[in-house]
Symmetry: C2
Subunit: 395 residues, 2 copies
DNA sequence: GGAAGTTTATTAAGGTCTTTACAAAACCTC
DNA sequence: GAGGTTTTGTAAAGACCTTAATAAACTTCC
């Protein structure tokens, strides 16, 4: 957005070539006829031809010689498609319990994915697992580390987006003293970015929704985090944007010393089960009285109409709604999407939150559940890595 | 960001001409030598020469024949400057008590400004005053309505940014049924935009600070509103972003039927005086006991060390901090800037808010007072109008 | 099996724009 | 008034896109 300096004729070619490449990408995994590109880009055929030639030479796209089926008569079209292997990206999700990695090609196809659980969440052990997982996923996809075009790592805690240092990570002991960023930069010859996991989950959710608008994507499990995506771009603020776990909800909150924030202590997965347990003790008529209680059980009970469970869920929903209402009023997001473990609660929780938010805000956002599976964060990391590659095309 | 279609050689000229025009603008009121533009834009002299020629022809810039002083020897330079009168913009601030208007030229120089107070804040009367103020400011600046290049109107309430309709405006009775946007579009031949006043104030404050980052600018008087500016661009969300007046603060809030939000009823200017009045009754040792009390008096008393006043101010600050803390956690703004009537409270209030926010947030933002005078909103409106003009240069 | 028709690729000429290079102008200083 | 300096102005060259015309390759129909 800053200065667009030194404009000579050559930039035209770069502009147009980029335009053609974008068009090829938008046709994603399918090969596209050259004539199609002419229509898509609005450029003329000779220009497109030149651009494609350049792109093939640079290795970004490849020809599809066998123009097999669906002929309508006429000279067979030259068809090209993205050469995915030109710039594969690596995503990494370093959680307190599991480490997963994935490699996507330029078109967003998943070439490999690895998931490994960690027994002890000590930092040193974690780092070893990270290295092992990276090695495995590279092998599975058949790439050398030097071929990777961008790396994005998701980690819990607060990350300084400039240096990649982890500033605060209560859930992994010793994690802040590990310079993960430098560690990885030694292994790869490409940009390495470390980013908060909730932020990346938000990015993944936003991409799934597509289109512009403001999104508040909440990760809700033992802990609570959120990411803000505005018109497809992640909002970082001074760095710690989206840390909803530290919102102080109304009412008393138990004091703990594990670095969790007030809202996490009030309505994190653990707090929900604890609340249900207390309620079950004083209300033995509830189905919650027997069997082990966890958050899923509470939501299941509420779904079947158990009054005690319903009250707990409503309480949780109200606390959550009150906590985020000020942010919803300030941001006016189009949607609030909930992911993470608690998201499996489904419609019961959703309805309660929607109801309370309607009371507390002027233009209540859509409240929804993230449709993505467990690898939301990993997908977000890969998405951001792809963005990085696409952003610096003219390399 | 969408599609940059149909790139031929002519776009180069447009691009470079725009680049030169930007450079001329950045030198703002001072005329600039042609050779200087060459350095600033990175283009070559013939290119700059051509561009300047085009711009002069189009009326955007003008020559400065008398190359008077500061010669260093050599052929006298051709100097050009922005022809401010080429595209004057009109800003309007329609408040419940006053209507003000201003006209800026392209370089941001204030050519005229008019302010008029309104006795009855009935919508029909207000509209008459608006028309009169517009006529007056046009006359003062010596322009015809058709010459204005952009109009931005600030109004309290929630505005649909697409249609310009006012959706909610409790402070002016009947204001929502007036189609201000259409009314003005009939008078001007240029784009007319209606925007929430707090949003425009935020824009003005953000421009004063300059540079990127996230800003939460609060307007705090009888009512409370805010605007969010991210990297220089106003954030609207679904339309009602920044409506902090409707945040529900902890504790009981008096119920009124005047359309004000809970936070406004709790710590609006009126609520502050009411709170002080109550405190003075039970604490006759306070200096607040004698003389008429208004918000300014409370802050003044607190500044001199009056304990009762100090407690009131601290209460207000705590309520405010608790109310916006969730939004601060989610947005992680670089700064929270307070404007409006209460902003005159100064350091007393500021210090208290800063203290409380430090407790409630992870990366506490700078808390400051808006340095702009009473015409913050008007300045913001003019700023946005200028942006509009600059955004659509290639007209 | 050949001709017509259709779709696409290729090639050549023309125009616009920037760049490079060079010459002219205008002013100051000595 | 000569020399120097800074700037403007002009012409030729290079790069790129576009229009238009031509050639190619394949399907379909007769």
């Amino acid at each position: 957005m800053g200065d667009e300096r030194a404009v000579g004729t050559p930039v035209l070619r770069r502009l147009n070539t980029a335009s053609v490449l974008r068009a090829v990408r938008d046709c994603a995994p399918d090969p596209v006829r050259l004539a199609e590109l002419v229509k898509l880009t609005g450029l003329t055929r000779p220009t497109v031809g030149q651009a494609v030639e350049d792109l093939v030479e640079a290795g970004w796209v490849q020809h599809h010689h066998p123009a097999a089926a669906s002929r309508k008569g006429g000279r067979p079209a030259v068809r090209v498609s993205l050469r995915g292997r030109a710039a594969p990206v690596l995503g990494l999700d370093v959680g307190p319990h599991t480490v997963s990695a994935g490699i996507d090609d330029l078109a967003g196809r998943r070439l490999a994915a690895v998931r490994r659980s960690v027994d002890h969440n000590r930092a040193s052990r974690l780092l070893t697992v990270v290295d092992a997982v990276i090695a495995r996923v590279l092998e599975e996809a058949g790439f050398d580390a030097d071929e990777i075009a961008a790396v994005v790592v998701a980690t819990p805690g607060i990350v300084d987006s400039g240096s990649g240092r982890i500033l605060l990570a209560p859930s992994v002991s010793g994690w802040t003293s590990v310079n993960l960023s430098d560690h990885l930069r030694d292994r790869f010859r490409c940009p390495v970015r470390v980013e908060n996991d909730a932020n990346l989950a938000a990015l993944a959710v936003a991409r799934e929704r597509a289109g512009p608008g403001t999104l508040l994507a909440v990760q809700w499990g033992e802990r609570l985090g959120a990411g803000v995506v505005i018109d497809g771009r992640l909002h970082r603020g001074t760095g710690a944007a989206g840390e909803i776990g530290f919102i102080r909800p109304p009412g008393r909150v138990p004091d703990t010393d594990d670095g969790r924030g007030p809202l996490e202590r009030a309505i994190g997965a653990e707090a929900i089960t604890e609340q249900a347990r207390r309620a079950a003790r004083t209300h033995p008529e509830s189905v919650l009285r027997d069997g082990p209680i966890d958050a899923a059980a509470v939501f299941a009970a509420a779904a079947t109409g158990d009054a005690v469970a319903e009250r707990v869920v409503d309480d949780v929903a109200r606390t959550f709604a009150h906590a985020i209402a000020p942010a919803v009023l300030v941001l006016a997001p189009d949607a609030v999407v909930i992911g993470g473990g608690v998201a499996r609660a489904g419609p019961v929780l959703l309805a309660a939150i929607t109801r309370h938010l309607a009371d507390l805000t002027l233009t209540p956002p859509d409240v929804g559940i993230s449709g993505l599976a467990e690898d939301t964060i990993l997908t977000g990391a890969l998405r951001m890595a792809l963005d990085e590659v696409w952003h610096q095309l003219p390399a």
